[in-house]
Amino acid sequence: MSSRLTEIRWHGRGGQGAVTAAKMVAEIAAERGKCFQAFPEYGPERSGAPIVAFTRLSEDPIQCYSAIEHPDLVLVLDDTLLSVVDVTEGASDDAVIIVNTEKSPDDIKKGFDFGSRRVLTVPATKIAKQTLGRAIPNTPMVSALSRITGYFSLEEIEDHLRHTFGKKFPQKVVDANVEAAKMAFQEVRE
C-alpha cells in the first residue's frame, strides 16, 4: 500500500446509508481536489442485511479497481454487526476501527477481539435521531472519520453539506446534518 493511499471499509445494514456515506466521502474528496473511489460490494440489497462498501482516498490517481483486502480504516455503522461479521478481517494490526455505538470503547472491546487495533466509538445513531429525527448515521460517521484521520476539516464537511448536499435538500435538513456533523466531531471516544 502506498502511504499516499487510504483504504476504507464500511460495514452497515441495508438502509443505513453505508453506500451514501462512502459516496459523501468521495464527493468531499472531489471538492478538495483529492483522488477518490467509492463502491459497494455488489449483491442483493435487502433492508437490514449486512452490507459492505469501500472508499479509496489518495493524493495520486487511483487505478486499482479490485476489492480492498487490507483496509486502513474500518467504519461500523451498526454495533449489532460485531457478532455477525468479522469487521477486522484483513485489517492490518495498526488499522483504526470506528464503531457507531452508545457504548464506550472499553465495553465494545470486551465483547469482541479487535487485537491490537485502535478502536473508537461515536454515538452516530443517537446523534442522527437527535438532529435529523431519523436513525441515519452516515453524516455523523463521516464526521468521526474526519476527526480521526484529519482527512477533512469540520469546515470542509460543513461546506459540502451546505453546497452540494444543499442542492438536493431543504435548508432544515441541511442544518440538521451540519449539527449532526458538529456533534459527532465532539463525541468521538477512545
Binding site: A26, F39, Y42, Y65
Partner: protein, 403 residues
Amino acid sequence: MTPPTAQTQRPIEAVTGNQAVAYAMKQINPDVVAAYPITPQTDVVQNFAEYVADGVVKANFVTVESEHSAMSACIGSASSGARTMTATSSAGFALMWEMVYIAASMRAPIVMTTVNRALSGPINIHCDHSDTMGGRDAGWVQIYNEDAQEAYDATIMGFPIAEHPDVRLPLMNMYDGFIISGAIGPLQSLTDEEVQQFVGQAPGYPSLLDFDNHVTFGPFDGLHGWYFEHKVNQQRAMDNALAVIQDVYDRFAALSGRRYQHLMQYRMEDADIAIVVIGSAAGNARSVADKLRAEGVKAGVIKVRTFRPFPAAQYAKALAGVKAVGIMDRADSFGAAGGPLYMDVTSALYQQGVYTKAANFIYGLGGRDIFPHNIEEAFRVLQKAAEGGDLPKSRVYLNMKGA
C-alpha cells in the same frame, strides 16, 4: 491517464460510470433513445429517463417490451435519419442478437452502450466480457473503456465515428459492469456547447422519411442478389474505420487534452514481457508492471481500446520485440484455441510474421475479482518463458478456487 494541463480548471465530479454515460447522452441530445427499461438494463437508461422527465433533452424516449424490440426500434429510427442511441447489458444484449447483425448490415449508425456483464448460467449478473465478446463478429465498431471518464469520452466520440461517410456502422461502447458502472469515480466533463460542437450535425444520409429520394433498407436479396457484396462492403467499412477512429480520438484530444489510441501502451518501449488486457483490470496490470520494473524486470502493458476493427498490424508492431506476451481474457470461447482476445492477438502476430511466445490467461468470469497478485502470477509465468522456458499451451486460470 495524465490530466491535461489546459483542462485542469474543469471541475471534478464524483459520479458512477452509468451516470457519466447518461450525462454524455444528455449532452449529445439525440433524437431517439429506444430502450428496454427493466433488468438486465442498467441505470444508464434510468438516468437518461430522468433527463427526459425533466425536459432537458429533446429525445423521443421509447420504452419497449424487450431488448429485441429496442434494437428493432433503433434500426427503424436510425434508418429514418434520426440520431439514435440505446443501452444494454448482459442477457439483454443476447436477446438483441438477431437485430444487432441487422443494424450493422443496414449500416445504421446507432451508438449503444453495453455494460459488460456475464451471461447466465449459473445465474450471475456480475462483470465479465461474455456478452460483447459474443457480438464481436456482428459488424459493430467496438470500443472498450477502462473507467467512467473513458466511457464518457467514448460516448461523445460515438457519432463522429459511426456517422462518418467512410464508416457508417453502428458503434458499441463497453465498460465493466458494477466495477465501473456502479462505482463512484472522478469525471471531468465538457460543456454542453463543446459536446454539441464536437458531435456536429447529423450527416443527413438518405432516409426512409425522405419522400423525394426513395430508398430501400434491408430488402430480400436472395441467391442471385448482392448479399455477398454487401458483406464485403461491411468489412471495407471496418478497414476504413481504423483511420477514422484515430482521427476522431485525435480531434477529441485537441478538445479535452485526453489522448487515446487503438491500443494504449504502458512502458512497452523496451519491454521483455507484456500483458494485454481489457477494461478495469488494466490499472492493476500497470501497477504490477511498475513493481516489476522496480525489480529490474522489463514489464509492459497493452490496454485494448479499439477492439473492432482490430488493429492487427499495431499489435504485431508493439509485440515484435517482446519475448513473451500474456493475453488476458475476461470471457472464454469454449472449444476454441483460447479466449477471444487471445485468438485475435495471436492471429495478428502470425499474420504479420511476428512469432512472440504467447499465453492465454482467463480471469474474472462472473465478477471474480482480479487482484494485483493474480496479475503478478501471470507476469511470473511470462518471465520464465522470456528466460527460455516454455509457455503453457492451454488456458491458465487466474484466481480460480481450488487451484
